[in-house]
Amino acid sequence: MKELRLMKGNEALAEAAIRSGCDAYFGYPITPQSEVLEYLSKEANVRTGMVILQAESEVASINMVYGAAGTGKRIMTSSSSPGISLMQEGISYIACAELPCLLVNVNRGGPGLGTIQPSQGDYFQSVKGGGHGDYKLIVLAPSTVQEMSDFVKLSFELAFKYNNPVMILTDGALGQMMEKVELFEQQERKTNIEPWATVGKPKDRERNIITSLHIQPDKMEEINLKLQAKYREIEKNEIRFEETNCEDAEYLIVAYGLVARICVKAAQLAADKGLKVGVLRPISLFPFPYEKINELAGKVNGILDVEMNAGQMVEDVRLAVNGKVPVEFYGRMGGVVPTPEEILENLEKKLAGGKA
């Protein structure tokens, strides 16, 4: 039987963590995602024995994740933009040491202390690295409370498939808003021991070392090449996106997360006026659907990229389109959410030449 509930995005995510058989959560309160830690503190340990620890800072949280993920268990943390900034050093270590884990960023407006309102200002930080060195997170961007739940399970699967940290990049609005969500069944806690995990060295195996230190340049290059080969593999297998009315569209909007939903509404308003607008929503931000966007670019007159930032993903869209058609950008910043009307107005102004 379906288990339906009306839940806040942050709570659905926390519930999904418990149901994924997650072994431990380490985190620090920050608006607008504190409900994750609160919900888990109340529910998790009693239900599955999951470890919940409120750390003294995000710096400590991410290093607890690093230590715990090294034991090969299902480990996660969540935070919001300033807290995620504090975690970047640790994320770089985790990526280099190839530890599977889940990181959640409930994006709020920046830069600086900024605002607690929703934003997509952390696209670059999440998708292009964020910390030092050449590394990639697998980045998934939900657009509904349902996906806030579903992507937790998917993230753990991907993390262990590639021994790579996975980030769910969502925003303050999705974290706070309530929607109907169908919950998945409780999964078993993990029982198998990963061959690389630091759990104590038995007599019959070599010691396991978790490190990101390789002082010899040729060795460090070898590690980098191995990471890059893995990222190419991820690009081959894990691209996810959603198309809405892209088939015979005259114009295309590209948007991710919450904004994509607003753009679908804007496309409906356009249809009412006789203008055919499709929406492509990248779900995986790394790996990014370059090929799909390039293919669609061949069929439309122009593309509008809409984001809640100053224009970050638009750089990837332009790379994908490679000059085939004009790519315009419309964005709001600082925690302001664009309306369908203003998106349509900008599409008309910037691309359709007042055609609609």
Partner: protein
């Protein structure tokens, strides 16, 4: 002794004690513990790190807990500790070893988890993690090597550098008016209700080595009691950056470091020895 006689004696000696009969278990008074790898230490001659490593390895061997122990290495001279200790280890970011140890211990509460950290790592960049780990009373062992300098980066002023002590970033001596006071981390953590066993030891003399080993042994054993954090400071030397011979550095340690960082237990559990 004539030559013939010597040969006969040698012959006799070989007859009586053949190599195989010397190298028998009963005759072994000293050997490399199986918890040390064959990798030669990269530490400078006379440095206390090598002795401290060996003591940890001996304790793990003697307690027979190699299969249950996970170590956390710092950033500093001991960054390669995992090359020498034949156990599962994680190399932490600078200062974060106790947070990493917390993560491991929380998901593997039945295992032995310890960190090995220097003064810059534990008492400067990692102060918050150290204090909060001790304050939460995590059941881990923290081993703190205090040599009053940043060894690996070439002798900069550390949080534990003594007043007026010269370093590359306090070339005229540490001026406490502008550079602050040496931080007595061990005294600080001893105040926290989360710590169970807090002691300050040294490894510059055989007697001290024996006491330090006992302390490390206790630190591991107490983990099984789940009563809180064990914290062992080892006041150590850095002949290279102190710009002294090993012998001079040990003398200097005795005359300058120990008066400021007196050796002994700061907090001992109320348990009966058996």
């Amino acid at each position: 002794m004539n030559e013939k006689r010597m040969i006969e004696e040698d012959q006799h000696f070989e007859d009586v004690i053949a190599e195989e009969s010397i190298c028998i278990q009963e005759n072994i008074v000293y050997e490399k513990p199986d918890t040390l790898t064959d990798t030669p230490f990269h530490y400078c001659p006379g440095c206390g790190h090598g002795v401290a490593h060996r003591l940890i390895a001996e304790v793990i061997s003697e307690l027979n807990i190699q299969e249950e122990t996970i170590g956390v290495a710092p950033v500093g001279c001991a960054v390669f500790a995992y090359n020498y200790l034949n156990i599962d280890m994680t190399e932490a970011a600078h200062g974060r070893a106790s947070a990493v140890a917390t993560g491991i211990k929380r998901v593997l509460p039945e295992k032995y988890v310890f960190t090995y950290q220097g003064d810059g790592d534990l008492a400067a960049i990692g102060t918050a993690e150290t204090l909060h780990t001790c304050n939460r009373g995590e059941n881990v062992l923290i081993i703190f090597i205090n040599n009053a300098t940043y060894g690996m980066t070439g002798g900069q002023m550390a949080p534990t550098t003594l007043p007026n002590m010269k370093s590359t970033t306090s070339p005229f001596g540490r001026d406490i008016a502008t550079m602050g006071h040496p931080l007595k981390m061990t005294d600080l953590v001893a105040q926290l209700p989360g710590t169970y066993y807090v002691t300050r030891q040294a490894v510059h003399k055989p007697g001290n080595v024996r006491k330090a080993k006992k302390a490390i042994m206790n630190g591991f054993k107490y983990q099984k009691e789940n009563k809180g954090t064990c914290f062992i400071e080892i006041v150590s030397n850095c002949p290279s950056n102190w710009k002294m011979t090993p012998r001079e550095s040990n003398k200097w340690l005795e005359e300058n470091m120990i008066p400021y960082y007196p050796l002994g237990d700061l907090k001992i559990p109320n348990v009966k020895e058996n």
